[in-house]
Subunit: 328 residues, 2 copies
């Protein structure tokens, strides 16, 4: 028996409990073919056709990574999924599934958690993945830990460690949009919608990850902390210097406009803004870049200061990007 | 440069930050052969030799699932790992790896998180698995979301749905120990140590899961919520009635003694206590039970009331076990 809309909206997680929420979150969802056994058992079983599985975990905390007065539960679900799916494609893999660990106050409206699940499913569906399992429990705040699994489909994994001197550095996807949207929200505005929505729900270029791997990318990472910070991971892992040319970036008109309005340099958003989950990769010098990739610099041997990232020959001044406590 | 013990003990998560904690949690850990690419990249890569991966997630929240005045961080890590590893073996699979999503207050001593990681590693090592990745962020409380992956090694997954009338019901591992230990702690005592430690760190019979699968188990589940509650999941998923015989249980002397001291019936702990992560399975009637399994009942067609669990012909009175909000 389905309660009517009015009472439905007021039902809390505590009231729904185990008896209702499994069904609410999993019922009527179409699992992809890679889901060999979906939710409802001790574990799920997922296809890993080439005998390997790519796996990563990302945690989002209310008040730290998102605010429910700035983003809807559905947008939070999409964003949490996107952060993990981007980490899978950054290896050159195709995502197959998500698992979701969720802690929420017992007073959380069940409807909010359903919408959050809707968001997770919506983003997973973009790449043909499914939500195959999870755990939901009470806790002092909304904490969302998403694990994504993926298939390399026979490819070698593209790590952060393979960049070589002479490689071209290229990027695919948005840079600085999420940071600009956050700056707008932080000043109490709700527009421009394109920027605010970019902060609420990133649009990682999912297909570009496997495409870059097929094209011969030597190293790849998704831009979650900021371009300079994430290229710093590549530089250190590969033992190289990454030299970017600022003239290679075409700063979108929307960022220029809002930067001007707020008195900020939009190039800072491009170089240090995270959470758009663009992909940045290195390619051998004789490699044709796949469609959608733009060359922004070159890999060189490390200088006297060791592995580093520079812009127009200088280390970038200012904040190098958002630092998690740790992603390992 | 390693700080000395005194200053080390006072370093918080905020102070260590990203620069220190990745190294602290991952350095010097020996990965198993199934870890094809370990921590430090966008994703890990784990072997899935038969082309399938078993995956599950479990969330533990401080104050809900554990108390740091009752358990050490290392014990919490072991318990979180054990809960997930038991969900993998309950499918008939062998665990390969863990991923850990962790939210913790910025003031948390870094030492505590290292000890928690030690516990995760210690328990993973029991089954030959490794911690291959994770994410650590600040949050209002300690929330630990662990994902376990495993390999079926060519076996069919043993689900909750395969029990058939005539099957024997058997259990392997401890029942009621964790609940008795919790009762002791809840009354302010710290002994008997065997029971208190059983609550702090469960000892699931990991090897028994694949062994039961090889022996032909038709359904299996790990006892995380309580024997009756978890057999209820089997009964409903399989569409059968499960009939237990109380005389088939030999209640350990330690439970009898402490039950007597506290004025409680130890059989309640055995039937409804969770978190020991014993395995309960159904086997065809002509199957010899593997070593360590004890027969406790039989599977019958569902009665008029539908799928159900009964003890000595009667539905058990009282609490049927700990109910999560949802495990899906």
């Amino acid at each position: 028996m389905e309660p009517d809309g009015a009472s439905e909206a007021s039902v809390s997680l505590r009231e729904v409990g185990e008896f209702g929420l499994i069904t609410r979150v999993t019922a009527g969802r179409a699992q992809p073919g890679t889901t060999l056994l979906g939710p409802g058992d001790d574990s799920a079983v997922v296809a890993a056709p080439d005998g390997r599985v790519v796996a990563c975990t990302d945690v989002l905390v209310e008040g730290v990574h998102f605010r429910l007065d700035w983003s809807s539960p559905e947008q939070v679900g999409r964003k949490a999924a996107a952060a993990n799916l981007a980490d899978v494609v950054a290896m050159g893999a195709v995502p197959t599934s998500l698992l979701v660990g969720l802690a929420a106050p017992a007073t959380t409206p069940a409807r909010e958690l359903e919408q959050l699940a809707d968001g997770l499913w919506a983003e997973a569906s973009v790449v043909g993945a499914g939500v195959v399992g999870g755990d939901l429990t009470s806790g002092p705040a909304l904490v969302l830990s998403v694990t994504a699994l993926g298939s390399l489909q026979g490819r070698e994994a593209v790590t952060r460690a393979g960049a070589r001197p002479g490689d071209r550095v290229a990027v695919c996807g948005r840079l600085g949009w999420s940071a600009a949207g956050l700056a707008v929200l932080g000043r109490g505005f709700r527009s421009p919608a394109a920027l605010v929505n970019a902060h609420r729900v990133p649009e990682p270029p999912y297909a570009a990850g496997p495409q870059a791997a097929d094209a011969g990318a030597t190293a790849m990472i998704d831009v979650s902390d900021g371009l300079l910070a994430d290229l710093g991971h590549v530089a250190r892992a590969s033992g190289v210097a990454v030299r970017l040319r600022s003239a290679a970036f075409s700063v979108p008109e929307r960022l220029v406009e809002i930067g001007s309005a707020l008195g900020l340099d939009p190039m800072d958003w491009v170089l240090t803004g995270g959470e758009d989950h663009a992909l940045v990769a290195t390619f051998p010098p004789d490699t044709a870049l796949p469609d959608g990739w733009a060359e922004i610099g070159v890999v060189e041997p490390p200088g006297d200061g060791g592995p580093a990232v520079s812009v127009d020959g200088r280390p970038h001044e200012g904040d190098a990007g958002w630092l998690h406590f740790a992603k390992f």
